[in-house]
Protein backbone atom coordinates (compact mmCIF):
# COMPACT_ATOMS: atom_id res chain seq x y z
CA UNK A 1 0.00 0.00 0.00
CA UNK A 2 2.82 2.33 0.92
CA UNK A 3 4.31 1.72 -2.49
CA UNK A 4 1.19 3.00 -4.21
CA UNK A 5 0.91 6.03 -1.98
CA UNK A 6 4.49 7.00 -2.81
CA UNK A 7 3.80 6.57 -6.49
CA UNK A 8 0.72 8.74 -6.18
CA UNK A 9 2.66 11.54 -4.47
CA UNK A 10 5.33 11.25 -7.11
CA UNK A 11 2.78 11.44 -9.87
CA UNK A 12 1.27 14.54 -8.29
CA UNK A 13 4.72 16.11 -8.16
CA UNK A 14 5.25 15.32 -11.81
CA UNK A 15 1.83 16.67 -12.68
CA UNK A 16 2.56 20.00 -11.02
CA UNK A 17 6.07 20.12 -12.44
CA UNK A 18 4.62 19.56 -15.90
CA UNK A 19 2.06 22.34 -15.61
CA UNK A 20 4.86 24.93 -15.70
CA UNK A 21 6.36 23.36 -18.78
CA UNK A 22 6.92 24.44 -22.35
CA UNK A 23 5.24 21.35 -23.89
CA UNK A 24 6.70 20.19 -27.16
CA UNK A 25 4.54 19.23 -30.12
CA UNK A 26 5.87 17.25 -33.08
CA UNK A 27 5.43 18.27 -36.71
CA UNK A 28 7.01 16.06 -39.37
CA UNK A 29 8.20 18.27 -42.22
CA UNK A 30 10.09 15.90 -44.49
CA UNK A 31 10.20 12.11 -44.88
CA UNK A 32 11.97 9.39 -46.79
CA UNK A 33 11.12 9.13 -50.51
CA UNK A 34 10.54 5.38 -50.42
CA UNK A 35 9.26 4.52 -46.98
CA UNK A 36 8.57 0.96 -45.89
CA UNK A 37 4.82 0.35 -45.71
CA UNK A 38 3.81 -1.14 -42.39
CA UNK A 39 0.37 -1.96 -40.99
CA UNK A 40 -0.24 -1.78 -37.26
CA UNK A 41 -3.32 -3.77 -36.40
CA UNK A 42 -4.68 -2.04 -33.27
CA UNK A 43 -3.49 -4.01 -30.24
CA UNK A 44 -6.16 -6.09 -28.55
CA UNK A 45 -6.51 -4.60 -25.05
CA UNK A 46 -8.75 -7.46 -23.86
CA UNK A 47 -10.95 -4.95 -22.09
CA UNK A 48 -8.10 -3.54 -20.00
CA UNK A 49 -8.47 0.20 -19.47
CA UNK A 50 -5.22 2.10 -20.00
CA UNK A 51 -4.62 5.82 -20.08
CA UNK A 52 -2.40 5.84 -23.18
CA UNK A 53 -3.08 4.60 -26.71
CA UNK A 54 -0.16 2.21 -27.27
CA UNK A 55 -0.94 1.70 -30.98
CA UNK A 56 -0.98 5.47 -31.59
CA UNK A 57 2.34 5.99 -29.80
CA UNK A 58 4.02 3.22 -31.82
CA UNK A 59 2.55 4.61 -35.05
CA UNK A 60 3.80 8.12 -34.20
CA UNK A 61 7.30 6.79 -33.42
CA UNK A 62 7.57 4.93 -36.72
CA UNK A 63 6.14 7.85 -38.68
CA UNK A 64 8.55 10.31 -37.00
CA UNK A 65 11.54 8.23 -38.08
CA UNK A 66 10.56 9.13 -41.65
CA UNK A 67 11.35 5.58 -42.80
CA UNK A 68 7.82 4.19 -42.63
CA UNK A 69 4.42 4.82 -44.13
CA UNK A 70 1.53 3.45 -42.07
CA UNK A 71 -1.45 1.72 -43.59
CA UNK A 72 -4.57 3.66 -42.52
CA UNK A 73 -6.72 1.78 -40.00
CA UNK A 74 -9.88 2.53 -41.97
CA UNK A 75 -8.53 0.48 -44.93
CA UNK A 76 -7.98 -2.63 -42.80
CA UNK A 77 -10.42 -5.51 -43.35
CA UNK A 78 -9.77 -7.06 -39.95
CA UNK A 79 -7.86 -6.29 -36.73
CA UNK A 80 -6.00 -9.54 -35.99
CA UNK A 81 -4.19 -9.64 -32.65
CA UNK A 82 -2.18 -12.84 -33.11
CA UNK A 83 -0.33 -14.38 -36.08
CA UNK A 84 -2.77 -17.29 -36.37
CA UNK A 85 -5.58 -14.85 -37.23
CA UNK A 86 -3.72 -13.16 -40.09
CA UNK A 87 -4.85 -13.55 -43.71
CA UNK A 88 -1.72 -12.42 -45.51
CA UNK A 89 -3.55 -11.84 -48.78
CA UNK A 90 -5.66 -9.04 -47.24
CA UNK A 91 -2.53 -7.19 -46.19
CA UNK A 92 -0.75 -7.74 -49.49
CA UNK A 93 -3.69 -6.15 -51.27
CA UNK A 94 -3.26 -3.08 -49.04
CA UNK A 95 0.37 -2.84 -50.11
CA UNK A 96 1.70 -3.51 -46.63
CA UNK A 97 5.19 -5.00 -46.48
CA UNK A 98 5.00 -5.67 -42.75
CA UNK A 99 2.24 -6.22 -40.25
CA UNK A 100 2.32 -5.86 -36.46
CA UNK A 101 -0.21 -7.64 -34.25
CA UNK A 102 -0.37 -7.89 -30.48
CA UNK A 103 -2.46 -8.18 -27.37
CA UNK A 104 -2.30 -6.91 -23.81
CA UNK A 105 -2.75 -8.86 -20.60
CA UNK A 106 -2.43 -8.27 -16.85
CA UNK A 107 0.22 -10.30 -15.02
CA UNK A 108 -0.23 -11.79 -11.52
CA UNK A 109 1.88 -8.94 -10.07
CA UNK A 110 -0.53 -6.43 -11.72
CA UNK A 111 1.98 -5.27 -14.31
CA UNK A 112 0.89 -5.24 -17.93
CA UNK A 113 2.33 -7.45 -20.65
CA UNK A 114 2.07 -6.84 -24.38
CA UNK A 115 2.84 -9.81 -26.58
CA UNK A 116 3.37 -8.67 -30.14
CA UNK A 117 4.62 -10.08 -33.44
CA UNK A 118 6.14 -8.60 -36.56
CA UNK A 119 5.11 -10.40 -39.73
CA UNK A 120 6.56 -10.12 -43.19
CA UNK A 121 3.63 -9.97 -45.59
CA UNK A 122 5.61 -10.95 -48.68
CA UNK A 123 7.30 -14.01 -47.22
CA UNK A 124 4.24 -14.79 -45.02
CA UNK A 125 6.53 -15.34 -42.07
CA UNK A 126 6.70 -14.30 -38.44
CA UNK A 127 9.83 -12.17 -38.04
CA UNK A 128 9.64 -12.32 -34.24
CA UNK A 129 7.29 -12.55 -31.28
CA UNK A 130 8.26 -10.52 -28.24
CA UNK A 131 6.83 -9.64 -24.83
CA UNK A 132 7.16 -6.25 -23.17
CA UNK A 133 6.14 -5.75 -19.53
CA UNK A 134 5.72 -2.58 -17.54
CA UNK A 135 3.76 -1.10 -14.64
CA UNK A 136 0.40 0.37 -15.67
CA UNK A 137 1.77 3.90 -15.14
CA UNK A 138 4.45 3.44 -17.79
CA UNK A 139 2.53 2.55 -20.93
CA UNK A 140 4.52 5.10 -22.95
CA UNK A 141 7.76 3.27 -22.09
CA UNK A 142 6.12 0.04 -23.13
CA UNK A 143 5.02 1.56 -26.46
CA UNK A 144 8.51 2.96 -27.19
CA UNK A 145 10.05 -0.44 -26.44
CA UNK A 146 7.68 -1.93 -29.03
CA UNK A 147 8.75 0.72 -31.58
CA UNK A 148 12.45 0.07 -30.87
CA UNK A 149 12.02 -3.65 -31.47
CA UNK A 150 10.14 -3.15 -34.78
CA UNK A 151 12.56 -0.47 -36.00
CA UNK A 152 15.59 -2.64 -35.30
CA UNK A 153 14.11 -5.73 -36.95
CA UNK A 154 13.34 -3.85 -40.16
CA UNK A 155 16.24 -1.39 -40.45
CA UNK A 156 19.00 -3.32 -38.69
CA UNK A 157 19.66 -0.19 -36.59
CA UNK A 158 18.95 -0.12 -32.88
CA UNK A 159 15.87 2.02 -32.15
CA UNK A 160 16.19 5.16 -30.04
CA UNK A 161 12.52 5.83 -29.31
CA UNK A 162 12.80 4.91 -25.63
CA UNK A 163 15.26 7.74 -24.96
CA UNK A 164 14.95 11.22 -23.51
CA UNK A 165 15.88 14.79 -24.28
CA UNK A 166 17.22 17.43 -21.93
CA UNK A 167 16.86 21.06 -23.02
CA UNK A 168 16.59 24.60 -21.75
CA UNK A 169 13.41 26.63 -22.05
CA UNK A 170 13.21 30.37 -21.53
CA UNK A 171 10.19 32.55 -20.96
CA UNK A 172 10.69 36.30 -21.10
CA UNK A 173 8.21 38.76 -19.65
CA UNK A 174 9.65 42.24 -20.17
CA UNK A 175 13.02 42.24 -18.42
CA UNK A 176 12.12 39.17 -16.42
CA UNK A 177 13.56 35.86 -17.61
CA UNK A 178 12.67 32.40 -16.36
CA UNK A 179 15.10 29.66 -17.36
CA UNK A 180 14.09 26.03 -17.01
CA UNK A 181 16.06 22.86 -17.42
CA UNK A 182 13.62 20.25 -18.68
CA UNK A 183 13.71 16.56 -19.47
CA UNK A 184 11.16 14.92 -21.78
CA UNK A 185 10.78 11.72 -23.75
CA UNK A 186 12.38 11.80 -27.20
CA UNK A 187 8.88 12.40 -28.66
CA UNK A 188 8.41 15.47 -26.45
CA UNK A 189 5.90 13.77 -24.13
CA UNK A 190 6.08 13.63 -20.31
CA UNK A 191 8.07 16.83 -19.97
CA UNK A 192 9.32 17.37 -16.46
CA UNK A 193 11.12 20.21 -14.76
CA UNK A 194 14.60 19.68 -13.33
CA UNK A 195 15.59 23.20 -12.39
CA UNK A 196 14.13 26.70 -12.56
CA UNK A 197 16.13 29.91 -12.23
CA UNK A 198 15.94 33.61 -13.00
CA UNK A 199 19.56 33.41 -14.16
CA UNK A 200 20.80 31.63 -17.32
CA UNK A 201 21.02 27.84 -17.49
CA UNK A 202 23.23 26.44 -20.27
CA UNK A 203 24.90 23.42 -21.84
CA UNK A 204 23.06 20.41 -20.41
CA UNK A 205 24.86 17.13 -21.08
CA UNK A 206 24.06 13.52 -20.14
CA UNK A 207 26.16 11.17 -18.08
CA UNK A 208 26.72 7.89 -19.96
CA UNK A 209 24.52 6.16 -17.34
CA UNK A 210 21.54 8.28 -18.39
CA UNK A 211 20.83 8.99 -14.70
CA UNK A 212 22.58 12.32 -14.37
CA UNK A 213 23.02 15.63 -16.15
CA UNK A 214 25.80 18.18 -15.94
CA UNK A 215 25.05 21.79 -16.87
CA UNK A 216 26.01 25.42 -16.34
CA UNK A 217 23.92 27.64 -14.07
CA UNK A 218 24.40 31.34 -13.29
CA UNK A 219 22.27 31.11 -10.11
CA UNK A 220 25.19 32.27 -7.94
CA UNK A 221 25.57 35.37 -10.12
CA UNK A 222 28.39 33.79 -12.13
CA UNK A 223 28.65 30.67 -14.27
CA UNK A 224 29.26 27.43 -12.39
CA UNK A 225 29.07 23.75 -13.38
CA UNK A 226 26.60 21.49 -11.58
CA UNK A 227 25.70 17.83 -11.73
CA UNK A 228 22.20 16.61 -10.91
CA UNK A 229 20.79 13.15 -10.46
CA UNK A 230 17.49 12.64 -12.31
CA UNK A 231 16.24 9.97 -9.96
CA UNK A 232 16.96 11.63 -6.61
CA UNK A 233 17.16 15.35 -7.61
CA UNK A 234 20.44 15.35 -5.65
CA UNK A 235 22.54 18.22 -6.91
CA UNK A 236 26.16 19.24 -6.54
CA UNK A 237 28.12 22.33 -7.59
CA UNK A 238 31.33 21.10 -9.19
CA UNK A 239 33.21 24.30 -10.04
CA UNK A 240 33.26 27.96 -8.99
CA UNK A 241 36.47 29.26 -10.51
CA UNK A 242 37.03 32.87 -11.44
CA UNK A 243 35.88 33.51 -15.02
CA UNK A 244 34.25 30.95 -17.29
CA UNK A 245 33.07 27.61 -15.95
CA UNK A 246 31.41 25.97 -18.92
CA UNK A 247 30.80 23.42 -21.65
CA UNK A 248 30.82 20.19 -19.60
CA UNK A 249 31.12 16.87 -21.46
CA UNK A 250 31.08 13.50 -19.73
CA UNK A 251 33.83 10.96 -20.52
CA UNK A 252 32.54 7.67 -21.98
CA UNK A 253 33.46 5.81 -18.75
CA UNK A 254 31.59 8.38 -16.63
CA UNK A 255 34.55 9.18 -14.36
CA UNK A 256 35.53 12.59 -15.74
CA UNK A 257 34.12 15.77 -17.18
CA UNK A 258 35.87 17.77 -19.86
CA UNK A 259 35.17 21.44 -19.01
CA UNK A 260 36.23 24.95 -19.96
CA UNK A 261 37.79 27.32 -17.40
CA UNK A 262 39.32 30.75 -17.95
CA UNK A 263 40.83 31.03 -14.47
CA UNK A 264 44.34 31.24 -15.94
CA UNK A 265 43.47 34.16 -18.22
CA UNK A 266 41.61 32.78 -21.21
CA UNK A 267 39.37 29.80 -22.02
CA UNK A 268 41.23 26.50 -21.82
CA UNK A 269 40.05 22.89 -21.75
CA UNK A 270 40.51 20.81 -18.61
CA UNK A 271 39.42 17.43 -17.36
CA UNK A 272 37.88 17.21 -13.91
CA UNK A 273 38.08 13.81 -12.21
CA UNK A 274 34.71 13.35 -10.49
CA UNK A 275 36.11 11.02 -7.84
CA UNK A 276 39.30 12.88 -6.88
CA UNK A 277 38.36 16.43 -8.03
CA UNK A 278 41.72 16.56 -9.77
CA UNK A 279 41.97 19.10 -12.60
CA UNK A 280 44.21 18.51 -15.61
CA UNK A 281 44.79 21.32 -18.08
CA UNK A 282 44.78 20.07 -21.67
CA UNK A 283 45.19 23.16 -23.87
CA UNK A 284 47.65 26.02 -23.65
CA UNK A 285 46.85 28.72 -26.18
CA UNK A 286 45.89 32.40 -26.12
CA UNK A 287 42.95 31.68 -28.45
CA UNK A 288 39.46 30.62 -27.36
CA UNK A 289 39.41 26.86 -26.71
CA UNK A 290 35.93 25.60 -25.85
CA UNK A 291 33.12 23.07 -26.46
CA UNK A 292 35.06 19.88 -25.73
CA UNK A 293 33.39 16.56 -26.53
CA UNK A 294 34.85 13.11 -25.92
CA UNK A 295 35.45 10.72 -28.76
CA UNK A 296 33.83 7.31 -28.05
CA UNK A 297 37.32 5.78 -27.62
CA UNK A 298 37.84 7.90 -24.49
CA UNK A 299 41.32 8.80 -25.77
CA UNK A 300 40.59 11.90 -27.81
CA UNK A 301 38.62 15.11 -27.36
CA UNK A 302 37.16 17.25 -30.12
CA UNK A 303 36.88 20.96 -29.38
CA UNK A 304 36.32 24.40 -30.93
CA UNK A 305 39.20 26.87 -31.18
CA UNK A 306 39.78 30.13 -33.03
CA UNK A 307 43.57 29.64 -32.88
CA UNK A 308 43.66 29.65 -36.69
CA UNK A 309 41.82 32.98 -36.93
CA UNK A 310 38.24 31.68 -37.05
CA UNK A 311 36.39 29.04 -35.05
CA UNK A 312 37.32 25.55 -36.27
CA UNK A 313 37.20 22.05 -34.84
CA UNK A 314 40.35 20.40 -33.51
CA UNK A 315 41.15 16.96 -32.16
CA UNK A 316 43.22 16.57 -29.03
CA UNK A 317 45.01 13.35 -28.11
CA UNK A 318 44.86 12.92 -24.35
CA UNK A 319 48.05 10.86 -24.03
CA UNK A 320 50.35 13.62 -25.30
CA UNK A 321 47.98 16.63 -25.58
CA UNK A 322 48.84 17.00 -29.26
CA UNK A 323 46.30 18.92 -31.33
CA UNK A 324 45.24 18.43 -34.96
CA UNK A 325 42.85 20.55 -36.98
CA UNK A 326 39.83 18.62 -38.25
CA UNK A 327 37.70 21.13 -40.24
CA UNK A 328 38.92 23.13 -43.22
CA UNK A 329 35.81 24.01 -45.23
CA UNK A 330 34.07 27.26 -44.22
CA UNK A 331 35.08 30.02 -41.81
CA UNK A 332 32.97 28.95 -38.82
CA UNK A 333 32.81 25.35 -37.62
CA UNK A 334 31.97 24.83 -33.96
CA UNK A 335 30.28 22.78 -31.25
CA UNK A 336 31.26 19.27 -32.41
CA UNK A 337 29.07 16.30 -31.44
CA UNK A 338 30.37 12.88 -32.39
CA UNK A 339 28.33 9.83 -33.40
CA UNK A 340 28.75 6.61 -31.39
CA UNK A 341 30.66 5.08 -34.33
CA UNK A 342 33.40 7.70 -33.82
CA UNK A 343 33.27 8.59 -37.48
CA UNK A 344 30.58 11.22 -38.08
CA UNK A 345 30.88 14.65 -36.45
CA UNK A 346 27.83 16.90 -36.33
CA UNK A 347 28.65 20.59 -35.96
CA UNK A 348 27.51 24.15 -36.48
CA UNK A 349 28.78 25.22 -39.90
CA UNK A 350 28.52 28.63 -41.52
CA UNK A 351 28.13 28.83 -45.26
CA UNK A 352 27.25 32.06 -47.10
CA UNK A 353 26.68 33.88 -43.80
CA UNK A 354 24.08 31.42 -42.53
CA UNK A 355 24.52 28.96 -39.66
CA UNK A 356 23.55 25.38 -40.53
CA UNK A 357 24.07 21.98 -38.99
CA UNK A 358 26.52 19.89 -40.99
CA UNK A 359 27.93 16.38 -40.67
CA UNK A 360 31.58 15.65 -41.38
CA UNK A 361 32.77 12.13 -42.18
CA UNK A 362 36.17 11.91 -40.47
CA UNK A 363 37.28 9.10 -42.78
CA UNK A 364 36.45 10.58 -46.15
CA UNK A 365 36.50 14.27 -45.18
CA UNK A 366 33.08 14.69 -46.81
CA UNK A 367 30.98 17.50 -45.32
CA UNK A 368 27.19 17.30 -45.72
CA UNK A 369 24.94 20.23 -44.84
CA UNK A 370 21.89 18.78 -43.10
CA UNK A 371 19.70 21.82 -42.48
CA UNK A 372 18.45 24.74 -44.56
CA UNK A 373 17.15 27.06 -41.88
CA UNK A 374 19.24 29.87 -40.39
CA UNK A 375 20.64 30.24 -36.86
CA UNK A 376 20.82 26.47 -36.36
CA UNK A 377 22.87 25.41 -33.35
CA UNK A 378 23.52 22.84 -30.61
CA UNK A 379 23.46 19.57 -32.62
CA UNK A 380 23.02 16.45 -30.48
CA UNK A 381 23.01 12.98 -32.01
CA UNK A 382 20.69 10.19 -30.95
CA UNK A 383 22.52 7.22 -29.39
CA UNK A 384 21.96 5.19 -32.59
CA UNK A 385 23.50 7.95 -34.71
CA UNK A 386 20.55 7.94 -37.14
CA UNK A 387 19.01 11.31 -36.20
CA UNK A 388 20.14 14.48 -34.49
CA UNK A 389 18.27 17.14 -32.58
CA UNK A 390 19.23 20.80 -32.86
CA UNK A 391 17.97 24.25 -31.95
CA UNK A 392 16.77 26.76 -34.51
CA UNK A 393 14.47 29.75 -34.87
CA UNK A 394 10.99 29.61 -36.34
CA UNK A 395 8.67 32.64 -36.34
CA UNK A 396 11.26 34.42 -34.20
CA UNK A 397 10.91 31.71 -31.54
CA UNK A 398 13.51 29.22 -30.40
CA UNK A 399 12.40 25.68 -31.31
CA UNK A 400 13.93 22.22 -31.40
CA UNK A 401 14.11 20.33 -34.66
CA UNK A 402 15.43 16.95 -35.76
CA UNK A 403 17.08 15.79 -38.95
CA UNK A 404 18.35 12.39 -40.09
CA UNK A 405 22.09 12.03 -40.61
CA UNK A 406 21.51 11.71 -44.39
CA UNK A 407 19.34 14.89 -44.32
CA UNK A 408 16.35 12.96 -45.75
CA UNK A 409 14.02 13.16 -42.74
CA UNK A 410 13.08 16.27 -40.76
CA UNK A 411 10.66 17.16 -37.99
CA UNK A 412 10.12 20.07 -35.63
CA UNK A 413 9.34 20.07 -31.91
CA UNK A 414 8.05 23.60 -31.29
CA UNK A 415 7.16 24.62 -27.74
CA UNK A 416 3.66 25.89 -27.05
CA UNK A 417 5.11 28.71 -24.99
CA UNK A 418 8.51 30.43 -24.80
CA UNK A 419 11.80 29.51 -26.44
CA UNK A 420 13.46 26.13 -26.25
CA UNK A 421 17.10 25.43 -27.01
CA UNK A 422 20.20 23.36 -26.33
CA UNK A 423 18.75 19.88 -26.80
CA UNK A 424 20.83 17.02 -25.45
CA UNK A 425 19.79 13.55 -26.58
CA UNK A 426 20.19 10.94 -23.85
CA UNK A 427 22.19 7.74 -24.21
CA UNK A 428 20.27 4.43 -24.31
CA UNK A 429 18.46 4.17 -21.02
CA UNK A 430 18.37 0.40 -20.76
Amino acid sequence: MRYFRQCFILMLAIFFASSAAAELVIKVTEGNDQPTVIALSPFNLNGIKINENISDIVAADLRRSGLFRLTPQRDMLAFPSQPADVYFRDWRLLGAEYLVVGSLSVMPDRRYELEFSLLSVNSQRIQFTHKVRSPASEMRDLAHAVSDKIYQAITGIRGAFATRLAYVSVIREGDDFTYRLQVADADGARESLMLESKQPIMSPTWAPSGNELAYVSFETGRPAIFRQNLLTAERQQLTSFKGLNGAPSWSPDGTKLAIVLSKDGNPEIYTLDLNTNKLVRLTRHFAIDTEPTWMPDGKHILFTSDRGGSPQIYKLKLSDKSVKRVTFKGNYNARPNIAPDGRTVAMVHRSSDVFHIAALDLKTGRLLELTETTLDESPSLAPNGAMLMYATKYDNKGILAAVSIDAGVKYNLPAKRGDVREPAWSPYLR
Partner: protein, 161 residues
Protein backbone atom coordinates in the same frame (compact mmCIF):
# COMPACT_ATOMS: atom_id res chain seq x y z
CA UNK B 1 28.99 57.30 -11.15
CA UNK B 2 27.72 55.19 -8.33
CA UNK B 3 27.28 51.46 -8.57
CA UNK B 4 26.10 49.08 -5.93
CA UNK B 5 25.63 45.42 -6.55
CA UNK B 6 24.08 43.22 -3.96
CA UNK B 7 24.03 39.53 -4.54
CA UNK B 8 21.92 37.52 -2.20
CA UNK B 9 22.89 33.94 -1.97
CA UNK B 10 20.28 31.95 -3.78
CA UNK B 11 18.27 29.44 -1.91
CA UNK B 12 18.30 25.88 -2.93
CA UNK B 13 15.56 23.54 -2.00
CA UNK B 14 15.47 20.01 -3.16
CA UNK B 15 12.30 18.15 -3.81
CA UNK B 16 12.64 15.11 -1.63
CA UNK B 17 10.65 12.37 -3.16
CA UNK B 18 10.89 8.75 -2.44
CA UNK B 19 11.45 6.65 -5.50
CA UNK B 20 9.06 3.87 -6.30
CA UNK B 21 10.88 1.77 -8.80
CA UNK B 22 13.06 -1.26 -8.97
CA UNK B 23 15.86 -2.21 -11.33
CA UNK B 24 14.78 -3.58 -14.70
CA UNK B 25 15.10 -7.30 -15.31
CA UNK B 26 15.69 -8.86 -18.71
CA UNK B 27 15.45 -12.11 -20.49
CA UNK B 28 15.89 -13.01 -24.11
CA UNK B 29 12.48 -12.27 -25.48
CA UNK B 30 11.08 -10.00 -22.80
CA UNK B 31 11.70 -6.36 -22.04
CA UNK B 32 10.94 -5.24 -18.49
CA UNK B 33 10.20 -1.58 -18.02
CA UNK B 34 10.19 0.24 -14.75
CA UNK B 35 11.45 3.76 -15.23
CA UNK B 36 11.80 6.03 -12.27
CA UNK B 37 10.43 9.48 -12.92
CA UNK B 38 12.59 12.54 -13.14
CA UNK B 39 12.66 14.78 -10.08
CA UNK B 40 13.07 18.49 -9.79
CA UNK B 41 15.51 20.68 -7.91
CA UNK B 42 14.72 24.34 -7.34
CA UNK B 43 16.72 27.50 -7.13
CA UNK B 44 15.59 30.81 -5.70
CA UNK B 45 16.51 33.73 -7.92
CA UNK B 46 19.77 35.55 -7.34
CA UNK B 47 18.49 39.04 -6.61
CA UNK B 48 20.79 41.57 -8.20
CA UNK B 49 20.19 45.19 -7.32
CA UNK B 50 22.06 47.59 -9.52
CA UNK B 51 21.90 51.31 -8.75
CA UNK B 52 23.83 53.25 -11.33
CA UNK B 53 23.80 57.05 -11.52
CA UNK B 54 24.11 57.54 -15.25
CA UNK B 55 25.94 60.53 -16.58
CA UNK B 56 25.96 61.17 -20.30
CA UNK B 57 29.16 59.16 -20.49
CA UNK B 58 28.69 55.96 -22.50
CA UNK B 59 28.61 52.78 -20.41
CA UNK B 60 27.96 50.38 -23.30
CA UNK B 61 30.69 49.61 -25.83
CA UNK B 62 29.99 47.87 -29.15
CA UNK B 63 32.00 45.37 -31.21
CA UNK B 64 32.20 43.80 -34.67
CA UNK B 65 31.10 40.17 -35.25
CA UNK B 66 33.53 37.64 -33.71
CA UNK B 67 35.83 40.53 -32.69
CA UNK B 68 36.93 41.95 -29.35
CA UNK B 69 38.63 45.15 -30.53
CA UNK B 70 37.54 48.43 -28.88
CA UNK B 71 36.61 51.12 -31.40
CA UNK B 72 37.74 54.76 -31.15
CA UNK B 73 34.46 55.89 -29.59
CA UNK B 74 34.67 53.21 -26.87
CA UNK B 75 38.30 54.03 -26.13
CA UNK B 76 37.38 57.71 -25.72
CA UNK B 77 34.61 56.91 -23.24
CA UNK B 78 36.78 54.41 -21.35
CA UNK B 79 39.52 57.07 -21.00
CA UNK B 80 37.02 59.28 -19.17
CA UNK B 81 35.83 56.35 -17.03
CA UNK B 82 39.45 55.62 -16.11
CA UNK B 83 39.97 59.23 -15.02
CA UNK B 84 36.85 59.12 -12.82
CA UNK B 85 37.75 55.72 -11.37
CA UNK B 86 41.24 56.86 -10.44
CA UNK B 87 39.61 59.58 -8.34
CA UNK B 88 37.59 57.14 -6.24
CA UNK B 89 37.83 53.60 -4.91
CA UNK B 90 34.67 52.06 -6.32
CA UNK B 91 34.60 48.57 -7.81
CA UNK B 92 33.13 48.15 -11.29
CA UNK B 93 31.82 45.25 -13.25
CA UNK B 94 32.31 44.71 -16.99
CA UNK B 95 29.67 42.44 -18.55
CA UNK B 96 30.55 40.95 -21.94
CA UNK B 97 27.87 39.91 -24.44
CA UNK B 98 27.60 38.47 -27.95
CA UNK B 99 24.90 38.36 -30.62
CA UNK B 100 22.89 35.17 -31.16
CA UNK B 101 24.86 33.94 -34.17
CA UNK B 102 27.35 31.16 -33.63
CA UNK B 103 27.45 28.71 -30.74
CA UNK B 104 26.57 29.51 -27.14
CA UNK B 105 29.71 28.39 -25.38
CA UNK B 106 31.91 30.05 -28.00
CA UNK B 107 29.90 33.23 -27.51
CA UNK B 108 30.39 33.10 -23.74
CA UNK B 109 34.14 32.96 -24.41
CA UNK B 110 33.83 35.81 -26.92
CA UNK B 111 31.89 37.95 -24.42
CA UNK B 112 34.61 37.36 -21.85
CA UNK B 113 37.29 38.34 -24.36
CA UNK B 114 35.41 41.60 -25.06
CA UNK B 115 35.03 42.44 -21.37
CA UNK B 116 38.70 41.55 -20.82
CA UNK B 117 39.69 43.97 -23.60
CA UNK B 118 37.83 46.78 -21.82
CA UNK B 119 39.41 45.80 -18.49
CA UNK B 120 42.88 45.75 -20.02
CA UNK B 121 42.29 49.23 -21.40
CA UNK B 122 41.26 50.58 -17.96
CA UNK B 123 44.23 48.89 -16.28
CA UNK B 124 46.61 50.44 -18.82
CA UNK B 125 45.17 53.82 -17.81
CA UNK B 126 46.12 53.12 -14.20
CA UNK B 127 42.92 51.63 -12.70
CA UNK B 128 43.80 48.77 -10.33
CA UNK B 129 42.84 45.43 -11.92
CA UNK B 130 41.42 44.03 -8.69
CA UNK B 131 38.69 46.71 -8.71
CA UNK B 132 37.35 45.44 -12.04
CA UNK B 133 35.20 42.35 -12.19
CA UNK B 134 34.72 40.66 -15.56
CA UNK B 135 31.75 38.42 -16.33
CA UNK B 136 30.39 37.11 -19.62
CA UNK B 137 26.80 36.25 -20.46
CA UNK B 138 27.55 35.40 -24.09
CA UNK B 139 24.27 35.44 -26.02
CA UNK B 140 22.16 34.60 -22.95
CA UNK B 141 21.18 38.19 -22.08
CA UNK B 142 20.21 40.05 -25.23
CA UNK B 143 19.70 43.81 -25.07
CA UNK B 144 17.72 43.84 -28.33
CA UNK B 145 15.40 41.10 -29.57
CA UNK B 146 14.99 40.06 -33.16
CA UNK B 147 17.28 38.45 -35.72
CA UNK B 148 18.51 41.36 -37.81
CA UNK B 149 21.68 43.42 -38.21
CA UNK B 150 20.50 46.16 -35.85
CA UNK B 151 19.58 43.78 -33.01
CA UNK B 152 22.85 41.90 -33.50
CA UNK B 153 24.85 45.16 -33.44
CA UNK B 154 23.23 46.22 -30.15
CA UNK B 155 23.91 42.82 -28.59
CA UNK B 156 27.66 42.65 -29.36
CA UNK B 157 28.59 44.74 -26.36
CA UNK B 158 30.32 45.28 -23.05
CA UNK B 159 28.35 47.01 -20.29
CA UNK B 160 30.17 48.87 -17.54
CA UNK B 161 28.23 48.76 -14.28
Amino acid sequence: MKTRINLYASLLSLAILTGCSSAPVYDNDTTEIDNAAVKTAQVGSADVEIVPVISDLATVFYFDFDKAVLNAESRGALLEHAAILKGNSRAVRLEGHADERGTREYNIALGERRAAAAKEFLVLQGVAGDRIEVISFGEERAAAFGSDDEAWRLNRRVELK
